[in-house]
């Protein structure tokens, strides 16, 4: 069993605290993704799990053992780094065998394990090459192979794909998913790319400024973000936010609209409200109909879909994900309909109002 538990984990560099008490439980065999903007502490948290960074407060527990003072090599983890971190003076085989050789493992066992890992990752023909002679994707595969060979209880990945080009990233993403399905090992994966997070994770941990904002399955985060930050971070293009005003009886007005029925549990709220709607949920209708109206500023045509940036009459901009074939051009007037069931509402403190329908959530 290799579950991972973080209890009120804190990290200080000198006097500055960068991780402010993180509590998290990762179940055995789970694929958990840490996601958040740059500098939020993802790598630091991961390095504390690995034992590469001292824990300033709280406990890191792997299996049933408190690991705070245990050396990285004795934690049963393997880590894959963003920069691959291959030993440049060793060939692929040497890189993969290094840890085992160092641990004094039997030659036969090493050979068997290296070849098995090479087989899983399709590296059989590259075993004699030096890292310099490999492409980026191959290097990353070697780095992953090196982790597999160690047969860890937990895999740790720190942005392993961010040095690869877009096409390769998609391919490696699939390979990592298949690897997880095959090995069924606990994996903790750090990325700032929310698409990677959505596609890979069993559960996503959204971090901001050293705090967990929300933990949940990808669809939970998509449909029921706890606050405006998570709502804006998950989903691409990001959710549209419009200042809103309570209009009584569970309704609000926003951007010059009439009263809109909100699908949320009512809550006493005095301050400013924010209405949220994802670009893919906005519907385009004839001018004069719909919830609000505005003028097209820019049309980004991707072929299969078009992103229209629409300036509302109240000067707010709303991004609409429309069909690839829409004919609207800049300066055209359009009407926009906000389907009530797709709306999100946030209080003045950014906290979301609980949405009534727990739609599409895979529990």
């Amino acid at each position: 069993m290799a579950q991972l538990v973080l209890q009120d984990v804190r990290k200080r560099f000198g006097k500055v605290e960068v991780i402010h008490g993180v509590d998290l439980e990762v179940k055995d065999g789970e694929f958990v993704v840490f996601v958040g903007p740059s500098g939020c502490g993802k790598s630091t948290l991961l390095r504390m799990i690995a034992g590469l960074e001292e824990v300033s407060g709280g406990d890191v527990v792997i299996g049933d053992e408190r690991m705070n003072e245990v050396a990285p090599s004795d934690r049963g983890i393997a880590m894959v780094f963003q920069s691959y971190a291959l030993y440049p003076h060793k060939d692929v085989y040497g890189n993969m065998a290094f840890a085992l050789r160092h641990a004094g493992e039997d030659k036969k066992v090493i050979d068997e394990r290296v070849r098995k890992a090479a087989d899983i990752l399709g590296l059989e023909d590259l075993l004699k090459r030096r890292p310099k002679e490999l492409s980026g994707g191959q290097r990353q595969r070697v780095a992953i192979g090196r982790a597999i060979v160690r047969d860890p209880a937990i895999f740790l990945f720190d942005e392993p794909l961010s040095n690869l080009d877009a096409a390769l990233r998609v391919q490696m993403r699939v390979e990592i998913l298949r690897l997880h399905q095959r090995l069924k090992t606990t994996m903790v994966y750090v990325t700032h790319d929310q698409v990677e997070a959505m596609t890979l994770a069993d559960r996503i941990v959204v971090l901001r400024d050293g705090r967990i904002e929300q933990v949940g399955t990808p669809l939970e985060l998509y449909h029921h973000p706890k606050n405006q930050f998570v709502a804006g971070f998950i989903g691409s293009p990001r959710m549209n936010f419009l200042p809103a005003r309570a209009a009584g009886e569970g309704r609000v007005t926003a951007a010059g609209s009439g009263p809109i029925e909100m699908p949320v549990e009512p809550r006493a709220e005095a301050g400013e409200l924010t209405l949220g709607i994802r670009p893919e949920h906005v519907e385009m209708v004839a001018p004069g109909q719909g919830t609000v109206a505005g003028e097209v500023l820019v049309a980004e045509r991707l072929g299969g879909e078009t992103f229209l940036h629409v300036e509302l009459d109240g000067k707010e901009t709303v991004v609409v994900k429309a069909d690839g074939g829409v004919t609207q051009k800049p300066a055209d007037r359009v009407g926009l309909r906000f389907p009530p069931e797709a709306l999100h509402l946030f209080g003045g403190d950014g906290q979301a109002f609980a949405r009534r329908e727990r739609q599409g959530v895979i529990a």
Binding site: L52, P72, Q82, Y87, P88, H89, A99, H102
Partner: protein
């Protein structure tokens, strides 16, 4: 339009060519100036005394050719001993400079500890203070330690002299090494010492070679400390040994030039070794080895 473009392009190319020629002319001139005296020394070492004085710039001819200088050097005096003294001092000092320099640099660049920056400044302060200023104190120290007239005294002094710049350069370079690869070795279970020897040292090999090359020359050429600390016959170095052919009234020029010519050899050999390291370090992995 296109003609203007091509002329401009041509002028650009000509300009670049001109600049390259200029650079090469300067380098060539410098090379000639630098090599000329060495060449004269080597040439004249193969002449007899008359040849050296009557036609110092000419190639050795049948009448002037002679290896009497080499004969004197190899038979008279303990030249081979001086030679091996110089080699021992240089090689051992170099080894210590590189080892301790690299270790200190690794510690300064890798570990966060109190006074790290201060220690760094202290270690490289020696670059600005010539070690010869401390000669009297060093001599006293060596006398107290009974190390006068031993090669160890020279090795200690040269190690101290070479360390600051070695630490400085290696620290700067090691700071640029990827942190990930050391962390990866930690996860793989290597001790800090093995990380240093098995991961860091191979990565800084080209820089080690560079440091070795320019730490080596001043040690090999030094006359000052051998004269002061180790002038006994058993511990003389080549530079000091040559002095025996320079008498108060007569100078055996053939012997002096011959010993100097021989003295160039090991430096060349060491340089060749290190510069190969340098190149193989730079291309490591790119070329199948």
């Amino acid at each position: 339009m296109s003609t203007v473009d091509t002329t401009r392009a041509r002028r650009g190319r000509m300009g670049r060519l001109g600049a390259a020629a200029g650079v090469h002319a300067v380098l060539l001139a410098y090379t000639i100036i630098a090599i000329f005296p060495v060449l004269i020394v080597v040439l004249n070492s193969f002449k007899n005394r008359r040849g050296i004085f009557t036609e110092p710039l000419a190639l050795p001819r049948t009448e002037t050719f002679s290896v009497e200088g080499y004969a004197t050097v190899l038979t008279e005096g303990n030249f081979l001993l001086y030679y091996s003294n110089s080699l021992i001092v240089t090689v051992v000092s170099l080894f210590l400079i590189l080892l301790f320099g690299a270790m200190a640099a690794h510690a300064l660049s890798e570990y966060r500890f109190k006074l790290n920056a201060l220690l760094g400044v202290y270690l490289i302060l020696g670059i600005m203070v010539p070690i010869r200023l401390g000669t009297v104190a060093i001599l006293q120290l060596m006398v107290d330690l009974s190390l006068v007239n031993t090669l160890i005294s020279l090795i200690l002094v040269y190690t101290a002299q070479g360390l600051p710049i070695a630490v400085f350069i290696l620290t700067e370079f090691m700071r640029t090494l990827s942190r990930d690869i050391k962390d990866c070795a930690r996860v793989d279970g290597l001790s800090e010492y093995r990380i240093f020897f098995e991961v860091v040292l191979p990565l800084v090999r080209p820089v080690l070679a560079t440091v070795a090359v320019f730490s080596m020359i001043p040690i090999w050429n030094d006359l000052w400390f051998p004269l002061i600390l180790a002038s006994s016959d058993a511990t003389k170095t080549v530079t000091l040994g040559v002095q025996q052919f320079i008498g108060q009234y007569t100078v055996n020029w053939s012997a002096v030039l011959a010993s100097l010519s021989i003295a160039i050899l090991p430096v060349l050999v060491l340089y060749a070794i290190f510069s190969r390291q340098l190149i193989s370090g730079i291309t490591a992995g790119a070329v199948k080895g």
